[in-house]
């Protein structure tokens, strides 16, 4: 009697154990989901653009509509942040120049490069946390290119990109620590970056497989150099005003200018 009981107990345990291992066995799906399937290194032969035929695309991005009231950031939420600023700080969302051109617009080649691959630049792109604000507000990098993240503040930040396509991570950075270096293995326009301790902090990182992108600055202008001749779809992306595209055909050594206009949200 006892033996049989024991046998049954042993069998049921094994079944339960298998079930438990089954639960564990499904785990890899979670990791593969979050893990990039495309590697950072270019797959095919690297395309070199012949400087003799390379074209240049320039232009500016303007804003159409009522100038929005800048939104003040209440930094007194953390005393050590507030103490870093004498003047009021405003959110860097819709930042207009005097001529109504827009800053912080990500302009890039969306389509037209086919399956050309490009070498990963060795220079790093810096994203700083300074005065409890990300500087610059927006950056673009190539797949696999190193982003160097600094903390110039006397307080701890946590840097938390919330990507859709890349792996999510979240790391604390204490004051005076050495920089973090990170790469993004998959294309994504754009990855929002947050600091959970200072919820007003937000930055965007654009990750592309090619080097043909720019962020508009003080003059609202952009310049994309070294494009091989071809027909392209160019997109201008703004965090609040949305995105708009234009098609452009570039011949060898062409130098074309295209302008974008982004309308205020109704």
């Amino acid at each position: 009697m006892k033996r049989r009981l024991e046998l049954w107990l042993a069998i049921s345990v094994f079944v339960l154990l298998l079930a438990a291992c089954g639960g564990g066995g499904e785990q890899p799906t979670e990791t593969t989901e979050s893990k990039p399937t495309e590697s950072g290194a270019p797959a095919g032969p690297v395309t070199t653009v012949d400087p003799a035929t390379a074209a240049t695309l320039t232009g500016k991005v303007s804003f159409d509509g009522e100038k929005p009231k800048p939104r003040q950031i209440r930094m007194d939420a953390e005393a050590s942040c507030a103490s870093l600023h004498k003047e009021p700080v405003y959110a860097e969302e819709v930042v207009l120049n005097d001529d109504k051109t827009l800053q912080h617009v990500f302009v890039y080649v969306k389509e037209g490069l086919g399956d050309k691959t490009f070498a990963t630049p060795s220079e790093t792109v810096v994203l700083d946390q300074k005065g409890c604000v990300y500087t610059p507000h927006m950056i673009g990098v190539q797949v696999g290119q190193t982003v160097k993240i600094l903390n110039s503040d006397p307080t701890t930040h946590n840097i938390h990109p919330v990507p859709a396509n890349n792996r999510e991570w979240n790391t604390s950075m204490s004051p005076g620590g050495s920089p973090l270096e990170r790469t993004f293995p998959r294309e994504e326009v754009m990855i929002p970056v947050k600091c959970n301790v200072h919820p007003w902090m937000k930055s965007y990182i654009g990750v592309l497989k090619h080097p043909f992108f720019a962020v508009t600055g003080k003059g609202g202008t952009f310049e994309i150099k070294g494009l091989p001749p071809g027909e392209y779809t160019i997109e201008a992306w703004h965090e609040k005003l949305g995105a708009t595209t234009q098609k452009v055909t570039l011949a060898a050594k062409d130098s074309k200018a295209i302008d974008f206009t982004l309308k205020a949200a109704s």
Binding site: R74, S172, K194, N196, V197, P199, W200
Partner: protein, 263 residues
């Protein structure tokens, strides 16, 4: 050996007394109406606990000192004393139950009674790793919220501006102003994970649990700026989740609210 151990046990007893003497750190000054009642219950408990602690440790040390193997006489052959056992049980039961009963009053005041009808309404929403403080504005009504509208930069609690009651709602991050000497009714919520709204100076703590809306109330009796801590592990920034409770005179409070409402 035996004597040294006895002395050590007594030294530990003294150390315990020293640590609970309040000379090396104590509660921050209490500023809430209910705080003194909690402190008083703590002190009552401390008396009971101290008597039991000291008596047990002294007795333990004394027996260790006294009943060494090399003492004269034989070990006492006894299997115990039922009357004594029952007596101890009764005494302990009566003392503990009485103690527990005494402490329930302040709990009942805080949690079983509703806030007075004229209490100032404030909503606190915990978030990794800040406190969002919402005031209902002049209409005294909180507007509708919708998680889909949440955006940490502009709309941290997801206020739906289509609701007329929402128009004058004011949200402040980490800064919680309250008027002094007035009942405050706080509605506790959480947006992501469980947090705990802890104001040591108020002797107040309550978890903010996602999915629950917990109404609580208190009254602060002294102006000043006090810290709000998070007391439930909420992630990597738990230790930094700090808010400021600013207890103000009425006029100052109104001015502060007005300033916040302008932006």
């Amino acid at each position: 050996m035996a004597r040294a151990l006895a002395v050590l046990l007594w030294l530990i007893t003294l150390g315990g007394i020293a640590l609970f003497s309040g000379r090396h750190g104590w509660f921050p000054e209490t500023i809430s109406e209910h705080g003194p009642a909690i402190d008083a219950q703590f002190m009552r408990t401390l008396v009971v606990v101290a008597i039991a602690f000291v008596a047990s440790q002294i007795a333990l040390g004394w027996y260790v000192w006294r009943y060494r193997e090399d003492r004269e006489g034989d070990a006492v052959y006894t299997h115990g004393n039922t009357k004594l056992e029952v007596g101890i049980m009764l005494v302990v039961a009566v003392v503990f139950v009485a103690l527990a009963a005494l402490g329930q009053k302040v709990w009942a005041q805080l949690h079983l009674q509703d806030a007075p009808a004229d209490a100032v309404q404030i909503e606190v929403t915990g978030q990794q790793f800040v406190w969002n403080i919402r005031y209902p504005g002049a209409d005294g009504k909180f507007g509708r919220t919708d998680p889909k509208l949440i955006n940490d930069q502009e709309n941290p609690v997801g206020i739906d501006t289509k609701d007329p009651a929402a128009k004058d709602d004011v949200v402040s991050v980490n800064r919680m102003a309250i008027p002094v000497n007035k009942s405050i009714k706080v509605t506790l919520r959480a947006k992501d994970v469980t947090h705990s709204f802890f104001v040591p100076a108020l002797r107040f703590k309550q978890d903010t649990t996602p999915g629950l809306v917990v109404p609580v109330h208190f009254k602060a009796l002294k102006t000043g700026e006090y810290e709000i801590a998070c007391a439930e592990l909420c992630g990597l920034g738990h230790y930094k989740m700090k808010g400021y409770l600013m207890v103000m005179e009425d006029a100052q409070y109104e001015a502060w609210l007005k300033d916040r409402a302008t932006n």
